[in-house]
C-alpha cells in the first residue's frame, strides 16, 4: 500500500516537474456557481480560497471565475482555465461533475478537485462535507423552536446532498418535537434571491415558523427578518442576521482542505481521493447559537454536536423507516457511506415526492 502510494507520488512528481519548471508559481483555479458576494456558498468557497492563497503567499497564484452555469458552459470555463496553465482546479458545485470529468480526461497533467460529487479519475478527486451532521444540530433547534409545529425546507436540486439534509433535519426536529411536520419546496436553482424569497413567503403563509434553506443566498433570512419566523445561516455564518431570525448556522470551512491539497500539489504528493469530512475535522462548523434559543436547548444542541464530533453519535442511526414505511435501518444500525452518498428517498414522516 505504502509502496504504491510512494510510486504514485513519485510518478506524479515527475509529471509535475515539467509544469513546475514552466512557472515558478503554482496556479490554482476556482470555478464558482454563483457570484463571489452571494453571502453564502460561493462567497465562502472564495474566502477559503483567499485564505489558502494568503497562506502560501508568493508561491501560489489564484485565478477564479464566478457565476459559471452548470452544464455545457462549465466545460468551456474549466477548459479555458486549464489552458491558461492552472496546476489544480477546484470546481465547486455538484452540477460541474461530468464537465470536470470530461476536462480532466483532456488534461492529464492538471489536477482537478470536484466539490460534493462522487465521480473521480486518476487526476480528479472528489471532496465534500458531511453537511448532514450540521443539519442534525440545526434540525434539532428548529424542532424545539417551532410553535406551530411546522418547519419548512427550501431545497435546491434533488441530489443526495440535499436529500440527506432534509432527512437529517426532519429526524432531529422530530426528536426534539414529536408533532413536527416538514414542508419541502424545490426551486431547481442554487441561486435566485427572488425565488428564494417567494418560497420563504409561501412557507410563512402556510403557518411555517422555522425555515431552513439549502440554497445559496441570504434572501430567506432577509424575508424572515421582515415578516417573522426563524432561520439558519447556510454555508456561511450569516451572523448579520443574528440574534433573530438567524438562530445558528452551518459553516463550510474549506480553507484547511484547500491548503492541504495545494500543498500536496506543490510537494508533488497529490493523489486522487474521495474526501468526505464533517464536524470532527472542522470542515463543517456550527455557528454561534444565539440567545433567542433557550439555554437548555442550546446545551442539548451543543451536546449533540460534541457527540457527532467524537464519533459517538451518527445522525442516521436506526430504527429508521423509509417514507413508504419499509424498514431502512434496524435499531442501533448506522447508515453506511455508500447508501448515504446515493441517498434518494425520504425517511418516514416526510411528505411529498422527490422530483426524479
Amino acid at each position: 500500500m505504502k509502496l504504491t502510494k510512494l510510486l504514485a507520488g513519485a510518478a506524479l512528481a515527475l509529471g509535475l516537474a515539467s509544469t513546475a519548471m514552466a512557472a515558478d508559481k503554482t496556479k490554482v483555479g476556482f470555478i464558482y456557481v454563483g457570484p463571489i458576494n452571494d453571502g453564502g456558498w460561493s462567497q465562502h468557497h472564495h474566502e477559503s480560497a483567499k485564505k489558502m492563497a494568503e497562506h502560501f503567499g508568493d508561491k501560489v497564484e489564484l485565478v477564479y471565475q464566478e457565476s459559471v452555469p452548470e452544464g455545457a458552459d462549465a466545460e468551456r470555463a474549466i477548459t479555458q482555465m486549464a489552458l491558461q496553465g492552472a496546476d489544480i482546479i477546484f470546481t465547486t458545485s455538484f452540477g460541474y461533475m461530468d464537465a470536470t470529468l470530461n476536462v480532466a480526461k483532456k488534461f492529464p497533467k492538471v489536477k482537478f478537485e470536484h466539490a460534493t460529487g462522487y465521480k473521480t479519475a486518476p487526476n480528479m478527486s472528489a471532496y465534500s462535507a458531511r453537511f448532514y451532521e450540521g443539519r442534525a444540530v440545526t434540525g434539532f433547534i428548529a424542532g424545539k423552536m417551532t410553535k406551530s409545529n411546522k418547519i419548512g425546507y427550501i431545497g435546491s436540486f434533488p441530489i443526495p446532498e440535499v436529500i440527506r439534509g432534509i432527512n437529517s433535519t426532519y429526524i432531529h426536529a422530530k426528536k426534539a418535537n414529536p408533532d413536527v411536520k416538514i414542508s419541502v419546496i424545490w426551486l431547481n436553482t442554487w441561486f435566485d434571491p427572488a425565488k428564494e424569497a417567494d418560497a420563504t413567503q409561501a412557507l410563512l403563509d402556510q403557518g411555517v415558523d422555522v425555515v431552513l434553506a439549502h440554497t445559496d443566498s441570504t434572501a430567506p433570512l432577509a424575508v424572515l427578518e421582515k415578516n417573522g419566523g426563524y432561520g439558519f445561516g447556510q454555508a456561511a455564518d450569516m451572523i448579520e442576521f443574528a440574534p433573530k431570525p438567524r438562530l445558528s448556522s452551518i459553516i463550510d470551512n474549506w480553507a484547511p482542505y484547500y491548503i492541504q491539497e495545494v500543498q500536496a500539489v506543490i510537494d508533488g504528493t497529490w493523489a486522487s481521493h474521495n474526501a468526505w469530512d464533517g464536524i470532527s475535522t472542522g470542515m463543517v462548523g456550527i455557528g454561534e447559537i444565539t440567545d433567542a434559543v433557550p439555554a437548555e436547548v442550546k446545551a442539548e444542541a451543543l451536546a449533540m454536536k460534541e457527540a457527532i464530533a467524537k464519533g459517538e453519535y451518527h445522525p442516521f442511526t436506526g430504527p429508521l423507516n423509509k417514507q413508504d414505511g419499509s424498514p431502512w435501518l434496524a435499531d442501533g444500525e448506522v447508515a453506511d457511506d455508500g447508501t448515504l452518498a446515493g441517498l434518494n428517498f425520504y425517511v418516514e414522516g416526510v411528505d411529498g415526492d422527490i422530483p426524479q
Partner: protein, 306 residues
C-alpha cells in the same frame, strides 16, 4: 395532499408582490415599443435600478430616495441606448443586448461593497380600519406604496395611449415613423423620451426586488425577470391591462406552485416550476388571437433624410 394550508387571501396578497417587478418593467417596455423602439436591455436596466436604488437607500436611509435613484439609474442607462439607436442609428437588437450585458457588469461593480447590507424598510400604507377588513383588507389595502404606483402607472399609460393627443402621436411614431415625420412630429425626441420612461420603469422594477421583495443586494438578482417582461409585452398584444393581467397571472402561478409544493401536492416539481411560463404563454396567446399586432415601425431605424 392538504390544500387547507393554502390561504387564498395571503396567496393573492403575495402574488401581487411577486408580480410587481415584472409589471413595472413590462409597462415601461410597452411604451417604448409603442413608440417603435425595441429595447432588449430591460434586464440590464432593471439590475442597474436595483443596485442604484439599493445603494442610495442604504446611504441615505430613505427608501423613497432609493426608488427615485433607481428610476434615475434605469433612465440613465437607457439614455445610453437612446444615444446608440436614435443618434448613432445603431441596430436596436444588438444595442439592447449590449445594454443588458453592460448593466449586469456595471451593477456588479457598483454593488461590490453592498453585499450583506440591509436596506431601510419601506412602511406599508396603513389605512387603519380598511387594512383590517377581512379578505379585501390584506389584498387591496395592505401593501407598500410602490405596488400601488405600479398599478397607477398601468392606468396612466392606458389612459394616455387611448384618450390623449400625446398618446396618439406616440402611436403614430411607432406605427409609421416616416408619416409622423412628414406631419412634423419630432420622431427622435419622442422616442428618446419613451426610452427614458421605459428605463425609469425598469429601474423601479429592479429596485422593487432589491428593496422590498427580497430585500438585499446580490449580483444578478433580477435573474431573468427583464426577459419575461419583454415576452409579456408581446403576448399582451401591446395592451396595458393585458400586461397587468399577464403579470398577475405569472406572479400568481409562481406563488401558487410554491404553495402547492409546500402543501405536499403530488404533482412533479418540474411541471410546477415550468407552469408559470407555460400558463402565461398559453393564456396570452389565446387572448392575442384578435387582429392586434406589433407597432408597424417596431425596431426599425429612423433617419430624417431616408
Amino acid at each position: 395532499m392538504d390544500l387547507s394550508g393554502i390561504n387564498p387571501v395571503l396567496l393573492i396578497a403575495s402574488l401581487m408582490v411577486a408580480a410587481t417587478p415584472l409589471l413595472l418593467a413590462a409597462i415601461g417596455e410597452l411604451v417604448v415599443e409603442k413608440a417603435g423602439v425595441l429595447n432588449l436591455g430591460v434586464e440590464g436596466m432593471m439590475i442597474t435600478g436595483a443596485i442604484s436604488g439599493f445603494a442610495v437607500a442604504v446611504e441615505t436611509g430613505s427608501p423613497w430616495l432609493g426608488f427615485l435613484a433607481a428610476a434615475a439609474g434605469g433612465a440613465l442607462l437607457s439614455a445610453l441606448f437612446a444615444l446608440l439607436t436614435q443618434v448613432a442609428l445603431a441596430n436596436h437588437v444588438a444595442s439592447g443586448l449590449a445594454l443588458t450585458l453592460f448593466g449586469l457588469g456595471l451593477s456588479a461593480l457598483i454593488g461590490q461593497s453592498y453585499g450583506g447590507q440591509k436596506p431601510p424598510a419601506m412602511a406599508k400604507i396603513d389605512l387603519g380600519p380598511l387594512t383590517d377588513l377581512p379578505v379585501v383588507g390584506p389584498i387591496l389595502f395592505g401593501h407598500d406604496p410602490i405596488l400601488y404606483l405600479g398599478i397607477a402607472i398601468v392606468a396612466a399609460v392606458w389612459a394616455l395611449l387611448k384618450f390623449t393627443r400625446l398618446g396618439l402621436i406616440l402611436r403614430a411614431v411607432g406605427e409609421n415613423h416616416e408619416a409622423a415625420h412628414a406631419l412634423g412630429y419630432k420622431v427622435v425626441r419622442i422616442r428618446v423620451l419613451a426610452i427614458l420612461f421605459g428605463g425609469a420603469c425598469a429601474g423601479l422594477g429592479g429596485a422593487y426586488i432589491s428593496l422590498i421583495r427580497v430585500p438585499q443586494w446580490t449580483d444578478g438578482m433580477t435573474a431573468g425577470v427583464g426577459w419575461i417582461a419583454l415576452a409579456l409585452v408581446v403576448f399582451a398584444s401591446w395592451k396595458p391591462w393585458r400586461v397587468l393581467a399577464g403579470a398577475y397571472l405569472f406572479g400568481g402561478v409562481t406563488v401558487l406552485q410554491l404553495n402547492l409544493q409546500a402543501a405536499g401536492i403530488a404533482i412533479p416539481v418540474e411541471y410546477l416550476s415550468m407552469s408559470p411560463y407555460v400558463i402565461t404563454v398559453i393564456v396570452l396567446v389565446i387572448l392575442s388571437r384578435d387582429k392586434s399586432s406589433a407597432p408597424g415601425s417596431l425596431g426599425r431605424i429612423f433617419h430624417a433624410s431616408s
